[in-house]
Symmetry: C2
Subunit: 460 residues, 2 copies
């Protein structure tokens, strides 16, 4: 028999990793709930039609398809078996694993539109699957943690999603992060006023490289992408400009004179900045460790975002963005329900995990399996110990009985291996006196206590 | 475009159902943790080799297979396209969706055996997929909630799994249930002493029908299954016997004289009964609403269970068993690691959901989306209200701002639709005085309060 293994690109999570992952998920869930983003779940599999054509050609290729059950080849005789042809594949596979949580959410909204109250807020924390080539940090199965609201254009949601980022990441103890904000309308305005409205993405991507390639490099790339010389010249003051959020807004206000869409974007940014400053003044101080920044080079999701664009970076850690999001004006149009504006964010749980690990921010108690292991010198002692275990559990203290008759040394080694902080020892004299010796595995302190006293001691 | 839909046999869960499902999962998780069954997760997909041949021929047919990505037909030219032939299927599909959590757990234990401390306790709450014909109460995707321990033969675990059933189901408020216990060794002993050792399953299944078909019916079925007349005669006192757990044990002790395995089974049942009685005396009172019963007709999993067999029925509800489990002496042998005994249980979350729904046992607060909706008479009021919302969230109270400028009537209707228990109303005078009117949506009571007072009021 071949050695048992999980499929490549997938992961088993043991108790230690699960405790850490759940710590992240539970923190995210707590704030999703405080903010009214109630959870939904959709099935792992969607009809192939729901998914195909939503993620571009590359995305379509990365979708895991499920073989029809039963006589799946029936009626396939005339179809080409050429791998390039999708006719056979579509015939033998009608379902596929979800590739993200956004398209299933759009499908959900359209399908259940008559029972939803708009604006509809939802959170969703579920795995997605992609047939990517596995490599470090890239998996074929990973969780996405999304919060979205659809059915309102109000900037109230941009504001609250920014504070949601801040509360979750602060609660996780991440000491320094930048919540980067951009606005698609401002980018459109910039492209418009320099006379290159079709080159938004190229311009944004080129400016993003300023730190790496210098001003000449940026201008060279712009020219290579076909941006006219005059347009590049007009762009120079913008590329040069440095300043905080407010000064950038003032600059843009003047730079974008004449672009209706651009000025609309500036107005949106200004309102978001002001409202965030109302509730969390420290966040709009760009010298703070945890801060909101205006980043005009943020090009994330430019193909579908129509307003705000978010990205969060952990500062002082070599890792890509840990969260992202933005506003899309037509999420559900692909399923025949046009005009439903939405805005949403996603927490990158795997990257947040890596940040917490690297900065040693996971609480120590996550390593514990149970709080108390009861060890014993014999069968009668074990039976007596079972009562202590049960009383502990009834009091909300996790506990276990060592199950077998074994030397105390072996039982203590089991406790140490499982990182149990307290061991309760029951020998002949404890059995007689109805007590146990409670040992603190960190300090080594040992106390002879009644069961009630043990529960009191551990409840403190 | 076709109307968007989820695949048949799968379900979308909206916020209301999710709140109820999570209430069940969280209750189960809480006790899994108190009992030291720490969570693990395995990937949705397993290598086909890991799954095939583990669930019988019928099971193999119900496994969802994943089409290889890329040029999956390459090299398949010589393979038969006959659906009955598995050669082509195995060539184009190397992975499949897990069918249950037990086989992946066995794979996990063998694969990670060198880093696990035995006995290893784990819980696992994840969906599984089966290509079953969808029908009422049977889905193609459903969650399993399992707790298992491997690496010990100690009956301590049988005892704690029974009390775990009891604590979870009691905490969920299920008023009456029977935890049915049987033992494969006792069944083997019975078959042995009547001279039909190979007919354990037939005998057990036949006796199980006593209530439905009467004594004659049972004896007829036994004869039809080829049980010898003498054996049927010997079986009569057992079929007739009625009594509580202890009297049944006394009867079996005498009936099974001469069967070593049978007497071993009786001894196991006796120890479990006694230890459960030690910690939860009410549970072994067979007149109690929540009780442990010895049920010799329990035939669940007789193909693989080797010791204890568990099944839990909710009393007074027309529904199958809501939990099950048992001991298996060789879980990991299929993956090349023989001799690892285990015992485990599974909570049927979907059936528990139906029981709680039918008996109206879900807590009312599960219907709430958020605790407070802040409504407002204009833009300035909304901006002021955003501060209240943020302060509420900081105090751990879930809250939302109505996002748009709309008539108060519309805003209140939104609150009612989302079952929000409190609304905070901010108009011109509240804006001036820095207060809000807190309205209790159930009682209709309205109180003009400062933000601090609102938080105090709601924290009570």
């Amino acid at each position: 028999m071949a050695k048992p293994a999980n499929p490549k690109g997938t992961r088993d999570f043991g108790p230690r990793e699960m405790a850490r992952r759940n710590y992240i998920f539970q923190t995210i869930r707590k704030y999703f709930s405080l903010y009214g983003y109630n959870p939904i779940e959709t099935p792992a599999m969607e009809l192939t039609d729901t998914l195909l054509g939503k993620y571009g050609e590359e995305g379509d290729r990365l979708i895991f398809r499920i073989l029809n059950s039963g006589d799946y080849l029936k009626g396939a005789e005339g179809l080409s078996g050429d791998a390039a042809s999708t006719a056979l594949t579509n015939h033998i596979s009608e379902k596929a694993l979800r590739y993200d949580l956004t398209v299933p959410f759009a499908r959900f909204v359209v399908q259940h539109q008559h029972t939803l109250n708009l604006p509809f807020k939802r959170s969703q924390i579920q795995p997605v699957w992609r047939a990517d080539r596995p490599q470090k940090g890239r998996y074929r199965e990973f969780y996405q943690c999304d919060a979205d609201v659809v059915g309102s254009q109000s900037l109230v949601y941009e504001v609250e999603l920014i504070t949601l980022f801040n509360q979750v990441l602060s609660d996780l103890g991440i000491p320094a992060f930048a919540i980067k904000l951009n606005n698609r309308k401002v980018l459109a305005g910039i492209a418009e006023v320099i006379g290159e409205p079709s080159k938004i993405v190229d311009i944004t991507v080129a400016i993003d490289k300023l730190d790496k390639v210098g001003l000449d490099g940026v201008n060279k790339e712009l020219a290579e992408k076909g941006v006219a010389a005059l347009a590049i010249e007009k762009l120079q003051p913008l590329i040069h400009f440095e300043g905080d959020f407010s000064s950038k807004l003032a600059f843009l206000q003047s730079f974008l004179t004449g672009s209706e869409v651009g000025l609309k974007g500036v107005e949106e940014l200004r309102q978001v900045l002001e409202w965030v400053g109302d509730v969390e003044p420290k966040l709009v101080d760009e010298k703070a460790d945890r801060r909101l920044e205006l980043d005009l080079t943020l090009a994330r999701g430019l193909n579908y975002y129509t307003g705000a664009i978010f990205e969060v970076k952990a500062l002082g850690v070599q890792i890509g963005s840990i969260c992202g999001g933005g506003r899309y004006d037509d999420l559900t149009g692909i399923f025949g329900l046009p005009g439903v504006s939405g805005v949403g964010i996603s927490f990158g749980a795997d990257r947040i995990y890596d940040v917490l690990e690297e900065l040693n921010l996971f609480p120590a108690e996550l390593n514990q399996s149970v709080s108390v292991l009861v060890v014993h010198f014999g069968e009668e002692e074990a039976r007596f110990g079972a009562k202590l275990v049960y009383q502990l559990r009834k009091s909300g203290i996790s506990a276990e009985l060592y199950p077998d008759q074994a030397k105390i040394k072996k039982q203590m080694a089991y406790a140490a291996n499982r990182s149990v902080p307290f061991v309760a020892i029951i020998g002949e004299s404890e059995l007689k006196s109805g007590t146990a010796v409670l040992k603190n595995m960190t300090s080594g302190e040992q106390l002879p206590l009644s069961f009630t006293e043990i529960i009191e001691h551990l409840s403190r």
